[in-house]
Amino acid sequence: MSFVSSLDRRRTSVRWGLRGVQAAMLLALVVVCLGPLLWLAKSAVTPTQDTLRSPISLWPNGPDLSIVTQAWTELGLSAYLVNTVVIAAGSWAVQVLVATTAGYALSVLRPRFGRIIYAAVLATMFVPIVLLLVPLYLTVLSLPVVHWSLVGTYAGAFLPAGASAFNVVIMKRFFDSLPREILDAARIDGAGPYRLFWSVVLPMSRPVLGVVSVFAVLAAWKDFIWPLIVLPDPAKQPIAVRLPSIAPTTDLSVLLAAMAISAALPILFFLLFQRLFLHSEGLEGAVKG
């Protein structure tokens, strides 16, 4: 599965040319992609004066681990991290709930108006997010009919994430690909729609659920503009929203330590689940439309 055949590799010019390009690419990746993060990690334990005087050198006066604890306690990072986790968990729950139930209803139960509903979901994919920002805020400020305000609540921050057409498409396509014989067999054995969903369809959907889940959590962790608008109270803001506002008044090394903490968790999460991020066949299908 490559444009380089074993015959090509036997030619010296090709082999060395290829090795050169690959080595140069690896070097570029390490410097450009990993480099900034290593610099962040280094600077998180380097006193501000050292970072300012010689930003590239390695600890002219030795690393200072107390900066990390200082950032943790003085900036109250634990509270913001809890906010982030709550929002990410809520965002994950609503996205998985909406995507699985909707995908199941549209793919397996197939209601009469299913096609129209699916088209209405698909249509939202083509609406730029910009169009939604202000009216979404005003909707969350006063929900239709009940007139509750979700501004300043975690729910206001994570519930809109559930309206992801992308997730519904991935789920529906995956359910469409499940072997119908198994579903029919379960029905003949007397499984109703709920049991079919819970005991047959969901357990078969683990791979795609994993993909939807990791992207849902990462997106919630990365989100900035929506929580910024909907959570005006700093005590409820996630760490990503909080950092830019405390940046101007915080000592550089302490800020860099806080940034390192805030970046370390999603990086760890990515490294743990990298298979789901990097080999997401479900996404490929959805992108190809």
């Binding site: 490559s2 690419m25 139960l109 979404l136």
Partner: protein, 321 residues
């Protein structure tokens, strides 16, 4: 659903009239339970999409024609909001900056993931390591990435980039302080942050190239570069066409970088359309609260982007095969 169930209870029907009636009643009951279940399963989506997608979209159109202060009832003002936006001297500035940002992002940001994916796919080993490194910036929260790059771009002695440039006798470059440099600087960070995601899409598409095509090209005497040019790239064309329009739509809505790096400065040199919308609605400098003009501009942008995509797909319709 109803059809499936009647098929399942089919054998029971032949047993006799009495049996048929109970079967009909229980069939009806099952049908009702079935469609009730359908409603139950559709409900989360209908609620969430209705509240947070369909209703706000419909509301945009209404709100762009209204003036509202959120306290009293909204007043119909016809096309006044559109007039306000179109006569705003900042609109052409924001439009130009957004177009320049999208153009630079296209020239630099579009080919990079493609080159990366092609080189990655030539690897027999370590492809996972390359992909992992390339994806790392994508998982960094954008707010952290921007703050980090801000210290890199620092014009003072602590600026990482200017220190490095100083070693080879260049600079210092006023990365974020000069009107000429600010947009390229923002594009550079945005490309760093986003390229990995596109690489993964291309890599996935590259694994679907049939090996026979490469073998046939080899048999015809094509070298490595020949195969990339005549087999790999044509095979990627449909994906490339989609990622291109997605990138244009995405960069047209750039907000985070100008908002966090410069707040639109220096002297509006990085003010983008989305930043202008944000300023109308939530801005601190103007006081915000101008929801009418904000939605009017959103609507115009959305229509503009929809038109652009439509023209794009019409023009490129024949290119996918």
């Amino acid at each position: 659903m109803a059809v499936d169930i009647s098929r399942v209870s089919g054998p029971a029907l032949v047993r006799g009239p009495a049996r048929r009636r109970t079967s009909f009643v229980s069939g009806l009951a099952r049908w009702w339970r079935g469609s009730a279940a359908t409603v139950v399963f559709l409900l989360p989506m209908l609620l969430v999409f209705g509240l947070f997608s369909w209703w706000p979209i419909a509301r945009t159109v209404v709100m762009s024609l209204q003036e509202t202060n959120l306290v009293g009832p909204a007043a119909w003002v016809g096309l006044d909001n559109f007039r306000t936006v179109l006569s705003d001297p900042l609109l052409p500035v924001a439009l130009r900056n957004t177009a320049v940002f999208a153009a630079i992002a296209f020239v630099f940001g579009y080919p990079i993931p493609l080159v990366m994916a092609v080189v990655f796919s030539s690897l027999r080993k370590l492809r996972g390591l390359y992909a992992c490194l390339a994806y790392l910036p994508v998982v960094v929260p954008p707010a952290v990435a921007v703050l980090l790059w801000k210290t890199f771009y620092d014009a003072g002695s602590g600026g990482v980039f200017n220190t490095v440039l100083g070693w080879v006798g260049l600079g210092p470059v006023p990365w974020l302080e000069s009107a000429d440099w600010v947009l390229p600087s923002l594009v550079m960070e945005a490309t760093w942050a986003a390229a990995g995601g596109t690489v993964i899409i291309y890599l996935a598409a590259l694994t679907t190239v049939p090996q026979e095509l490469y073998d046939a090209a080899s048999a015809d005497g094509a070298g490595v570069l020949g195969k990339v040019w005549h087999v790999t790239l044509p095979h990627l064309r449909p994906v490339l066409l989609i990622t291109l329009i997605l990138q244009i739509i995405g960069t047209a809505q750039v907000f985070l970088e100008p908002y966090l790096f410069t707040g639109g400065g220096p002297s509006h040199a990085s003010l983008t359309l989305l930043l202008l919308i944000y300023e109308y609605a939530f801005g601190s400098t103007t006081g915000g609260g101008d929801y009418g003009p904000a939605t009017a501009l959103s609507l115009m942008m959305a229509v503009g982007l929809a038109l652009l995509s439509w023209i794009y797909f019409r023009l490129t319709r024949g290119w996918s095969d």
